[in-house]
Symmetry: C3
Amino acid sequence: MTETRPMKTKRGSQVLGRGLALAVLCSSAGLAAAQSSVTIFGVMDVGVQRLSNGGKNLSLVSIDGMQTSRIGFRGTEDLGNGLSASFHLEGAVGPDVGSGGDWRRRATVSVSDKAAGEVRLGRDYVPTFWNISRFNAFGTNGVGAASNLVYGFDGASSTAKTVIRSDNSVGYFLPSNLGGIYGQAMMAAGEGSTGKYVGGRLGYAQGSLDVAGAWSETTNTAAGTKFKVGNLGGSYTVDAFKLLGLYHVSKQATREQTNWVLGGTYTQGAHVLRFSHVRSKNRDSANGSDYSGKLLALGYVYNLSKRSSIYATTSRVQNSATGKFLIPGGSAVLAGQSSTGTELGIYHSF
Amino acid sequence: MTETRPMKTKRGSQVLGRGLALAVLCSSAGLAAAQSSVTIFGVMDVGVQRLSNGGKNLSLVSIDGMQTSRIGFRGTEDLGNGLSASFHLEGAVGPDVGSGGDWRRRATVSVSDKAAGEVRLGRDYVPTFWNISRFNAFGTNGVGAASNLVYGFDGASSTAKTVIRSDNSVGYFLPSNLGGIYGQAMMAAGEGSTGKYVGGRLGYAQGSLDVAGAWSETTNTAAGTKFKVGNLGGSYTVDAFKLLGLYHVSKQATREQTNWVLGGTYTQGAHVLRFSHVRSKNRDSANGSDYSGKLLALGYVYNLSKRSSIYATTSRVQNSATGKFLIPGGSAVLAGQSSTGTELGIYHSF
Amino acid sequence: MTETRPMKTKRGSQVLGRGLALAVLCSSAGLAAAQSSVTIFGVMDVGVQRLSNGGKNLSLVSIDGMQTSRIGFRGTEDLGNGLSASFHLEGAVGPDVGSGGDWRRRATVSVSDKAAGEVRLGRDYVPTFWNISRFNAFGTNGVGAASNLVYGFDGASSTAKTVIRSDNSVGYFLPSNLGGIYGQAMMAAGEGSTGKYVGGRLGYAQGSLDVAGAWSETTNTAAGTKFKVGNLGGSYTVDAFKLLGLYHVSKQATREQTNWVLGGTYTQGAHVLRFSHVRSKNRDSANGSDYSGKLLALGYVYNLSKRSSIYATTSRVQNSATGKFLIPGGSAVLAGQSSTGTELGIYHSF
C-alpha cells in the first residue's frame, strides 16, 4: 500500500524532485495521458581556477569544471504500441556572470518506435561528438579535458560550426534492442550557406566493454571545403577501474590533426581518481608546419551524493617548438610555451 | 476511490504531466492556497521544407509549420468571491537553431472577476490578431497560412509593431457569462515614440457558430500616421466539416490592402484535411500601384494523439503582373513571380 | 489520515502550487532523495506611471513598482548530517516588453552546513546591498524607493558593477544558530580587469529589532581607484508600525555621497501605508561641487492575498540649486529641477 503526505508548504511553486517523481493514477478513469510529464533538470558547476599560460597567470571564478552548467526541460508522451513523442530543450547557464537564455545545447522533437528507432529533428549533438565525450576520463569539461586539444584544430572548436552540435539537423537513432549495438546518423541542411553536415556513429556496449566509431563531413565554406572528422573510442571496466581510449582525426583542406587519448578512473566509495593523457599532432601541408602537443591531467572527485560533488583537477599542456596548444580561458601562449591549469569546484545537478 | 503510486525514479525533477495535473489536499488542514499552481506548457514543431520562389529553390529544416514552437509558464491564484490573479509568461523557441530566451509571445499579469471581466497588463496579443488566427484553416503558421499574405502589407508584419502583439498594453476582457458574447479592448502607451495603440474585438460564439469583428489604430510614426486594421471573421461547423472565412483590411497613409480568406477543415478520426484560399489586393494611391495575389493551400494532419501530430502542407502563391506576395523564408520574388512551399513536420505540445 | 484527489486535467504540465508543495512517500522503500525538489518562483508586477521631470511629463506602462518582475528555479539537496547542496537561478522579466532570458539576478551553487554556515559561488547580491533593500519602506522598487537617490552617486548604479550584485563571487554566510547574529562576507575576482570586490555584513535580529552594518571596496578602474560603500541600518516593529532607518555612504576618488533614510509602514489587515524620506548630499572635492537632494514618498498597498496586491505610490524628489537627483525612467532634470512620479500597479508572486 502506498501512502501520501503533504510536504511543508513553502514559497514558490515546487516541482517534485529528481529523487521522487510520481504519478497519481485515477483508478476510476482510464487516463491515457497519465504517462506524460515534463522534467526540469540541470547542472550548476562553479569553482576557482588558476591558469598559467607562458609566463602569465590568471586567477578566476571558473565554471563547468565537471559538467557544463545548464537548465533544461524534457518530456515524453507514450502514444501506445511502442510509439512515443518527446521533446528536449536544454540551454547553457553561466553561473559566474548569470548568463543563459537560449536552448543551444539541444532543442529537439522526436518520434520514437521501440522496434524501429527514433527520428529526431532540431539542434542536436553531432554523432562524432559522443566519442570525444564518452571515452574520456574528464568528459569535455575543465582544465583536464582532452577536448582542450582534440576539438577541431588546436582545440579551437570554431573552425566549423559542427564540432559539437549542428543546427537544422535530421537524425536517426537505432532502437535499444539490438543486443548491445547502438548507433545514429545525422544530416543537417546547409540552407544556402555553410554548415551542411552528414555523419554517423556505430557502437557496441556489452558488460564491461563499450566501443564506438564515428565519422562526419561538414561543408565548411561556400567554396565547398569539407571539414572531416573520424574517431574510434572505447572503455573497459575492471572492478573499480575504468580504462578509456580514443583516436580522433580532424581534416580540412591542407590541415590535419591526429589525437591519441588514454585515460582512466578509479572509484572507491565516494572517492574518484581520474587521469588523462593526450597526444595531438597538427600538420599543414600548405606551409609545412608540423607540431605536437600533449596534455597530462590528474583529478580527484569527492561525491557528496549522486547529484553533488566537490572536485579538484590539475592539468599541464606541453608543446613542441612551434606548438600552441593550451588550456582555454587565459592568455594565448607563444609557440612552444606550456599551459597549466588547476581548479577546485562544486558540482550540483538537479 | 483514488489510489496513488510512485512513478519510477529518474534523473531530473519531474513535473506532473499535462494529462495528469493533481493536488493532494490535506483533510486535516484548510489549505486556502491549495488552488494555486504553475503550469509549464509549450510546443515543439520541426519539419523539412522546400521553397521555390521564382526560379530559386531552397531546402531547409523548418519550424512552426503547425504552431509556433514555444515554452511558457502560467498560473492562477483564486482570491475568493469570484476574483483571481493570474500571470502568463510565454516565449518563442527556435528548435532549428536552439534560439529562445525572451517572453515576447506574452508577458502579462491579470486581475479577473467572474462577473466584471479581466484587466490585463503587459505585452499581449492585439485584439485584431485573433480573427486572423482563429478564422483560418492553417492558423498563422506554415506555408499555407493566410497570414503570409494578410499581415500588414504584402504579408510584411514589420510595417507596424502592433500587427500581432503590443508592448506596454492595458487590456480589458469581457467576462465569460454573457451568453456567447465575448470581447476585449486594448490600449498601449506609445511612451514618447511610435506604437500608441487602441483597438477592440467583439464576437459571438454559440453552438456551431462563431463570428467576431475587430478594429485597431496604431500611431506608426512620430509624424502621427495611423496604421489601421479592421477585420470580420467567422466559422461554422457541420459535423466533420468546419468552414472558416475572414475579411481583413489594413491601411496606412496612401496604402491599403484588402484580403478575403476562405478555408475549411474535415476531420475523420485521427485524420484532418485542411484547405485555404486567400485573395489579397494591395493599392497605393501615391504612385497608383495596384496589384493582387492569391494563395491556395492544402494540408493533411495525422494526429498521433491530442498533443502530437505529423503534418504535410503544400501551398502556392500567385501574383498579378506587379505583385510580390510570397511564402516567407526563401528568396524574394520578382514582380509577378509565383512562390511555392511544401513542408512535412512533427508537432508536439506539452 | 491523508487523502488524495486528482485535480481537473488541463492543457500544459502543471506544477504544484506555492501554497501546496507535496511529496508522496513510498512506505515500502527508503527514498533517501525524497527531500530533493526544484521550486519555480517569480514575480509579475506591472502598472501605469506618470513621471514629471522638470517641465516634461511622460505617461507609461511601468513595471516593478512593488518588486522586480522575475522568474527563478531553486532547489536544495539534503546530504545528511546537517549538510546540504543547493542552487538558485533567477532572472529579471520585463512584462512591459516581454524581455528576459538571463539569470543575472542570481546564479549560485552552495554547500551549507547547519553549524558551519554556507559557501556560495557564482553571481550574487553584494553584502552592502541588503541594508539598502531591507531597511527601506519601499525596498528598492518603484518611484518611492530610497535607492533612486542612494545607489552609487546621484542614484546612478552604473558607477561600479557591484552596487547591487557581483559576477564571479565567492561568498560565506554565517549559520542561523548564532542567537540572532547574522552575517556574510564576499570576495569577487577581478579576472584581469575592473570589478575585484571585497565586502561584508554583520547584523543582529531579535524580536522586534533588526540592525546591520555593511562595508565594501570594489576596484573600479584598471588604475585601481576604489569604489567604497559603507552603511548601517535598522528596523523596529511596534504593533502595526514598523520604523526603518538607514545611513549610507559611497566614495570614489574625490567624490562622496552621504544618505539618510527614514521610513515606516503601518499595516491594518489587508491595508498597508508606507512612507519614506531620504536626504542625500553629494560632494566632489576635485571641482568643489556640493549639492543635495531629498525624496518624500507615500504609498498604499491593498493585499488581495499574501501573493497578490494592488498598490499606489507617489514620490517627489527636490534638488538644491545644482542638484540633479531624480526618479529614473523619464527625462533628465536640469540642475535644481524637481522630479515627481506617481504609479498604480498590480503585483503578483508565484
